[in-house]
Symmetry: D2
Subunit: 345 residues, 4 copies
């Protein structure tokens, strides 16, 4: 049994980790870390866990936690992991970091977009970017996995094969995305109140959202050259889900069938990526699951291809991907505990 500690267990992503792991046969949550609710029963904060666990939340530091568990998930605000992680901890336990702290190879990119100093540049090199479908082999031996962002997972996976194969012009890429409100976290803020979000929609982080450089870095690696993109997130009134629509100029004449073959080349054997042919992705059909649904359409009038992707931001965009990473790290069937059928309606 893999012993699991969660730091930030009372945020939405942390609680989703607990939820997924509750039915994981080979892992068990030993420690529900929470600064705000230390001493409270976890099931009194997330009452869906009533009768399922009696454990109390604890405010434990990474080092002492690392001595009790096999793997630590840090579902914490930006800056926490880099300020607290060190090599000793990594010798004790694997760390899967759900924050943005270890997603960039170059600290200056982090510092520019996150507008704060990176406190532990040394570990950046060691960290592996945990996008399972692309970095599976690298993840296997890792001690520190940087779990990808929600928008980025969706944005990258949707475009990756076409960028990798040089079908589209990377610099022409525009990613227009929308997300449910759980992506904004559980902080008590007026803009996230029901009445402020319901019956509305809004763009935010226009031209300066932190997920932009993360998408760029991974797609640049795929392209073999630097790529600069536009990324615009929008908030829409749903609990869960991300939908991206991407636009790119085609570099060559290509058919729908040929594009499908390229997707199949990369994703044909991927259990959690479904490339649709007759439909477009819809959030309702991935919600509650670890799937990413992807589709594409060529517009011959403008010589662009429109790519679409959808996932559940708390699962494939956070906790599900983190468990998938854990499964890889511990050599368990990668899909174990993650085969939930999307919950529609």
């Amino acid at each position: 049994m893999i012993k699991v500690g969660i730091i930030g267990a009372t945020g939405y992503a942390g609680a989703e980790l607990a939820r997924i792991l509750q039915n994981h046969k080979y892992a068990e949550v030993i420690s529900y870390g929470s600064r705000s609710y230390s001493g409270d029963k976890f099931s009194s904060i997330y009452r869906n866990f009533e009768s399922l666990t009696n454990k109390e939340c604890v405010d434990e530091d990474l080092l002492s936690l690392s001595k009790e568990v096999d793997v630590i998930f840090t579902a914490t605000p930006g800056g926490f992991t880099s300020a607290n992680l060190n090599k000793e901890i990594l010798e004790n336990a694997k760390v899967i970091d759900l924050s943005g702290d270890y997603r960039f190879k170059d600290a200056s990119v982090y510092e520019k977009w996150y507008k704060t100093e990176h406190k532990n540049k040394e570990l950046l090199k060691e960290a592996v970017y945990g996008l399972c479908e692309i970095n599976r082999e690298k993840i296997k031996g890792a001690r520190l996995v940087a779990n990808p962002g929600c928008y980025t997972t969706c944005s990258i996976l949707t475009a990756y094969p076409l960028i990798k194969e040089g079908v589209i012009d990377g610099d022409s890429l525009i990613v227009d995305a929308m997300s449910g409100v759980s992506g904004a976290g559980r902080g008590a803020k007026i803009p996230n109140l029901f009445c402020e979000v319901n019956e509305s929609a809004k763009p935010y982080g226009v031209a300066d959202h932190r997920h932009t450089p993360e998408i760029e870095e991974q797609l640049s690696i795929a392209a073999g050259k630097d790529i600069t993109i536009n990324f615009t997130p929008h908030l829409i009134p749903i609990n869960r889900g991300i939908l991206v629509t991407e636009y790119a100029n085609l570099k060559t004449k290509i058919t729908m069938d040929e594009i499908k073959k390229i997707y199949d080349k990369y994703y044909g054997k991927e259990k959690f990526i479904r490339v649709l042919q007759e439909n477009y992705p819809e959030i309702r059909f991935v919600k509650g699951s670890n799937f990413v649904d992807i589709a594409f359409k060529i517009d011959e009038r403008t010589n662009r291809v429109i790519l679409m992707g959808a996932l559940d931001n708390l699962i494939k965009g956070a906790a599900g991907a983190a468990v998938q990473n854990m499964n890889i790290l511990f050599d368990i069937d990668e899909s174990h505990g993650l085969c939930m059928v999307p919950c529609f309606p």
Copy 2:
């Protein structure tokens, strides 16, 4: 492996059955029955099943289906099962009927409230009312299980122990309930369009809803005498979930602790019933699970007790209960395949 046939697989309850059974180790859906979508892939109608099944919907009759499978779930409109079921079918396969056709012992009650003739009164006697927590022993040997209604499951389980123990006056019982829109089915009707339901709420079936006599019959059995109640359902803009608030006059002076003990007597060992002490039920904490959450409050000013219950109408109120019944019928662990943690947020 239990071979399963679903009649009405493309309604919300039928599809939820398919969803739950997809991860059931000992059962497999052999036949997705649908009159409307016969010949279409099930995964083209419920696209959450993309990549999970390739089966096509079939318009099969009960008899021929009964020869291929071990159990048939009928998730069909009122009147279908009674018009089509017969003893030969029951000799071939178990039948779990999710409609209201076999829930009453007395056909005249059915005919009064459903305003239609009952076409197969003979089988009414044989049918067992499939409320697992109350009728578990009777269900074990049954061939025909009448799966309870969604409102009724919630209404009955919430009041049952206090009625059974004579703590409250059955005739004073008032059940005020609200339900999500999936309870109205997947029919293309204007009143169920998004814009008609969203940002609204409404009572319906006031004093004449079909679930009224079903609640009355079961609670009358518990009370050992006939009980007449008021039941008022309301539609609220959520996908899933039922919340009931019940009011009853206390027959004797009683404390909160004493009431808790009564609930414990009946539900203390029930895996899917959680009697709350410090909180009231909320739909978000049962959604996506087979749980019923129950709470109560004595109002000394009026000498009434207020009972509250919540469940997911598609799971504990329909498909989950049906699978629970199947597990009992086939002597599998009753909770198998039903231990989903409620999906919050």
Copy 3:
């Protein structure tokens, strides 16, 4: 032109007052009072007012404000008005208080249910309960109007004629109510975040909600004797709207037509009360308006009548009623500025 000051203009009820008064021909908001946002443009807090007003929020005390305006609306948390109002202020300006501070004749009732001392019992006598359809004449000469609560307006108006005429047993009255989230105010609290409210519903304040004694006091006056009731509010995921379902024992044999005549006797000439005959109230058909929709149904099986009412909690349940009171106080057509057609869809 009536000069208006709003204290608490940046709460939902205060902002709704500003919204309604924006198109009122005979009144103008001179002062947008807000402690939290003092110095900010009102239109930067409520950006629906962009280009409509340039005024800044001010943190002004009641006394100085009373010297500048003709009427003050206090849309403030409980306790504010009673702690700050005095006779000098009332000599300068009319006060319409949207809080609960002046709704009770007996301070001890307030203190019991609000669990705080009432700081200005002297003015309780002078205050007029501002339920226009019932107290119109008393409001006319008032200096201090206690604007009714949202739940209470709906609950009282729905039952009033039948209580007044002695048709129903007041002590048997049970009021089951549901409200949109704007009723909870604009405070940054976790339970009111989108993801906590959406796809859920919950009871709260069971047997101890503050609106209970307010309903009881007004219905007791109507009945000519003390009445004790049950009142249970529920939160549902909509922005605006209240729906009540009330149950009461009939004291005499009566027909639907006779009940209709009683409603007509009291409400036949009321512009903002619509007694429905063929339908039940739905929030979508009153949202955005000053209407209350009411319907009723006799259940002969239980000898109860079920009453239903719906209104927009921010309009007829707060700001609309307050403007209606203002119109009465200043001898303007009572419906002026309040004839918005309900905004469906």
Copy 4:
């Protein structure tokens, strides 16, 4: 008093016309046209109109209606107006057509995108494209006004000044848009059921939506040359509202201030267009009003400008614009009846 006839009064746009005109001082709805509900009271179909009108729906043809009224609004499905309109009707009454039938100068464009023959090409020349802020002068003398589409109004107004001034490259324009469900009409279709739309979002009409050529035609006129764009609509779970995010390559180096000046040049005096400087448009702040909110952001990294616009699809995107056109046609203050403050929350 202007006598108004509405054809298609029981669709969402038609009913919104009735709602707006209810409080219009100089116009009165004489005829509520509806084929489906002929003979029913309008207030029985749209129960928000209870007590506000007693008129019945009629199934009247355009010609006979034109003899009774001064202006006809056709809020009808595509193809109806072109099949039924003729010069005689236009001699009797003004016609404001809310369908797409008369929005194109070139019938072949209509026929290509609407995939149906245009039945009355003759009148295409006479029709004036009723985008008030751009075509105000041409509308004045018109007999037949083609009311713009909802997406198109938002898309065009957001980009118009920058296209007109040659600041952006028209062919680089990408319009990514989302709409509330009322835009899909009131037809009883499964994809528009509450449970299908709620908690989801989806793209549709990718690269072939009918509003594409309408945006292109108007922006091509502004640019003085043919422009080809990408337009992708998405459905999101709200009742009302459209939000567009547009991307275009800047043709020259330009500052935020300079762009603001360009917007001011075209919209500085427009009552219903609000160009924001410190915020981005959000649907909640335009909902229930005739406003369009617009904002922009330069991304120097990609040399693109991101434009954002929001409006209420039923008001500025349909019925409000139609009334604005009517006001212009009849020489009434253009904003009469349209000064509703956006209804937030």
